[in-house]
């Protein structure tokens, strides 16, 4: 993809995008770098239940684990779960959505049936059942479960997009030029769905991280790993709140929320790419106000006139 197209697609300096990127990149860096500098998150050699202090930035747990170190390790695992699950979900929704939409006919009918069933069968109980079915749940396995059970919504959207794209002239033109079907899907259709796919991916990542936390709360999270979810589960099991150990209970939740928030903000910016109407209006209103036009942006139009 050449720069021109990208630049055209990126909304000009958006506060939301910047904030979102800062949060997400920040947390990602934290996940990548921090574990090298923190102490072993599984070392119980510290005093238990220490409040935050110089030695332990975010205090310690009831077993003497360093909360900060756990958060860093948890960030790694949670992001891994999120990204893996998101990737799986997106690939599946591409297969079930785009292929169904583009190929049509019986392929479509079959793929759609599967999609509908996945939609109707609630994901959470199914996750619980599958999670309790699999006795040794590694991090990756949990991610796979979340991914495999979380693609249906995206597939529906992608299918309708593909349905409309397949009638686009440039797809017809590619057909007339003699392109093969798979190439049309991959080269002609997919790139145009990139912003949408990106948005769906981000959404799937957040969802997977939240769901992992939920599963962990129910004791169905990954067996042998530290994730934000398992930290929360431990904190809950250790009555962190009633014992006043907010430093144990609050940060994982806040991190999840922050990360989700960052992703949503980026998603927001992508939305504005997909839908130019979103891009122009609000920013335009701000710009006009800056330019000195006293415009109130709603149906009650203020005089647009500016001192000549």
């Amino acid at each position: 993809m050449a720069k021109g197209a990208l630049r055209q697609l990126l909304p000009s300096r958006s506060g939301k995008l910047t904030t979102g990127l800062v949060i997400v990149i920040g947390i990602t860096l934290f996940a990548i770098i921090a574990p090298f500098f923190t102490q072993n998150p599984r070392s119980s050699q510290n005093p238990a239940m220490l409040p935050p202090g110089a030695d332990h930035l975010l205090g310690t747990t009831s077993l003497g684990y360093d909360v900060f170190a756990q958060l860093a390790e948890g960030a790694r695992s949670s992001l891994l779960v999120g990204v893996t699950a998101g990737a799986i979900a997106i690939v599946l929704s591409i297969i079930f959505g785009i292929v169904a939409g583009y190929v049509g006919g019986w392929t479509d009918a079959g793929l759609r049936l599967v999609t509908n069933i996945m939609l109707v069968i609630p994901a959470i109980p199914l996750q619980i059942v599958v999670a309790s079915y699999l006795q040794k749940r590694s991090l990756v396995l949990v991610a796979v479960i979340l991914g495999v059970l979380g693609w249906a919504g995206g597939a529906v959207v992608l299918r309708s997009m593909a349905l409309s794209l397949r009638t686009r002239d440039y797809v017809s033109a590619a057909k007339v030029a003699g392109e093969k079907t798979w190439r049309i899907i991959l080269v002609e259709i997919m790139p145009n769905l990139l912003p949408l796919l990106a948005a769906q991916f981000l959404f799937a990542v957040i969802l997977a991280i939240l769901n992992e936390a939920g599963l962990s709360y129910l004791g169905l999270g990954p067996n042998n790993s530290i994730t934000w979810g398992t930290i929360l589960n431990d904190a809950q099991g250790g009555s962190a709140l009633t014992r006043g150990a907010w430093w144990w209970f609050v940060p994982p939740g806040v991190l999840i929320a922050l990360f989700g928030c960052g992703m949503s903000l980026i998603n927001f910016a992508i939305d504005e790419i997909i839908n130019p109407k979103l891009r122009s209006a609000p920013q335009a209103a701000k710009r006009v106000r800056k330019a000195g036009g006293d415009v109130v942006v709603n149906a009650e139009q203020e005089p647009e006139k500016v001192n000549a």
Binding site: G214, I256, S264, F268, A281, A285
Partner: protein, 330 residues
């Protein structure tokens, strides 16, 4: 195949597949349910062979019938409306357990979902209407709410509102200390509302952001539609433009999502119900899964599936009401 038949076929096939999956899933769970049940019983001392036999009978898998035969029996019983008897809550029939839990779930989660939807749509419409003003500045913060793990929020709320400040009760769907079960009185209704406040608040807080954002974006997009400009050019009052021209059109895409989320009301709340010991269906389901209670599991799954399908169906209809374009085409 006409469109009508196709729709029916969609519901029928989906239902069939979902119900069959419901049959299959519990059977895939690890562990022999009889021995697990017996292990639980042994906690209370030794058990007689007669008791062991009766557990086997109760759990339905005498071991000699084929899976396919079980499957046929399962459908047979479903058609007779027989969902079986729960083992963990023996001897309560599954239908009774579900019947007892459903009103609470629908009442709390359903109402909260509706409230969240209405608030989200309302605020979203307003934010879209006032796009580009200070209102837009608060939009990003709602994404934070949206991403909160909701059990975390629930625990925090309980800690603050119930335990620390004692404003709201800690457990139950009603005052379990003063009422011996549901009754028809104002006091009881008041108690129900008081007990629903905190869980309801959790749901509303953590889900309102999603609706708000979606609606706000749709609103912004709709406001640049020609018919809205036309409405303004027609000199209509802003209220009218806002309601009938902008909001009504912008809300349509959210409706399908709302339908689906209404369908998931039944299952979406399991964690919440556990935190608040709320007498709902979601918790029943987790318990069933945790205890290999086949009948209860199948029963709750069935209800959830039916609820989702019903919600989709109703939304098909509602959409027809709100959006005349779909009246003929579904």
């Amino acid at each position: 195949m006409t469109f009508f038949l196709r729709r029916i076929a969609f519901y029928a096939v989906t239902l069939w597949a979902a119900v069959s999956l419901n049959f299959l899933i519990p059977r895939l769970l690890p562990g022999d349910p009889v021995s697990i049940m017996l292990a639980r019983l042994q906690r209370n001392g030794t058990i007689s062979p007669a008791m062991e036999r009766s557990v086997r009978v109760l759990l339905g898998s005498s071991g000699d019938t084929s899976m396919f035969q079980d499957y046929l029996d399962y459908w047979g019983r479903l058609f007779r409306g027989d969902l079986g008897v729960s083992v963990t809550r023996f001897p309560t029939p599954v239908a009774d357990l579900i019947g007892g839990a459903l009103p609470w779930t629908v009442g709390l989660i359903g109402v909260s979902t509706v409230i969240a939807f209405v608030i989200g749509i309302g605020l979203g419409a307003w934010a879209g209407w006032k796009r580009g003003t200070w209102v837009d500045a608060i939009i990003p913060s709602t994404t934070l709410l949206q991403s909160l793990p909701y059990f975390w929020l629930a625990l925090l709320f309980v800690f603050l509102f119930a335990v620390s400040w004692g404003i709201f009760p800690i457990i139950g769907g009603y005052d379990v200390f003063n009422f011996n079960g549901p009754e028809l009185s104002w006091a009881f209704v008041g108690s129900v509302i008081r007990h629903a406040t905190l869980p309801g608040l959790t749901i509303v807080v953590s889900s309102v952001g999603g609706w708000l954002l979606g609606m706000r974006n749709m609103m912004v997009a709709t406001l640049s539609e020609d018919y809205v400009t036309t409405a303004e050019a027609k000199g209509l009052r802003p209220r009218r433009v806002f309601m009938t021209y902008a909001t009504r059109n912008a809300v349509i895409p959210s409706l399908t999502g709302f339908g689906v989320s209404l369908g998931f009301v039944v299952s979406g709340s399991l964690i919440m119900e556990r935190v608040f010991s709320y007498p709902g269906l979601g918790k029943l389901m987790i318990d069933a899964v945790g205890n290999n209670d086949y009948s209860l599991m199948q029963g709750t799954f069935l209800i959830i599936t039916l609820a989702v399908l019903a919600a989709l169906f109703i939304m098909d209809l509602v959409q027809g009401l709100i959006d005349p374009r779909t009246r003929h085409h579904g």
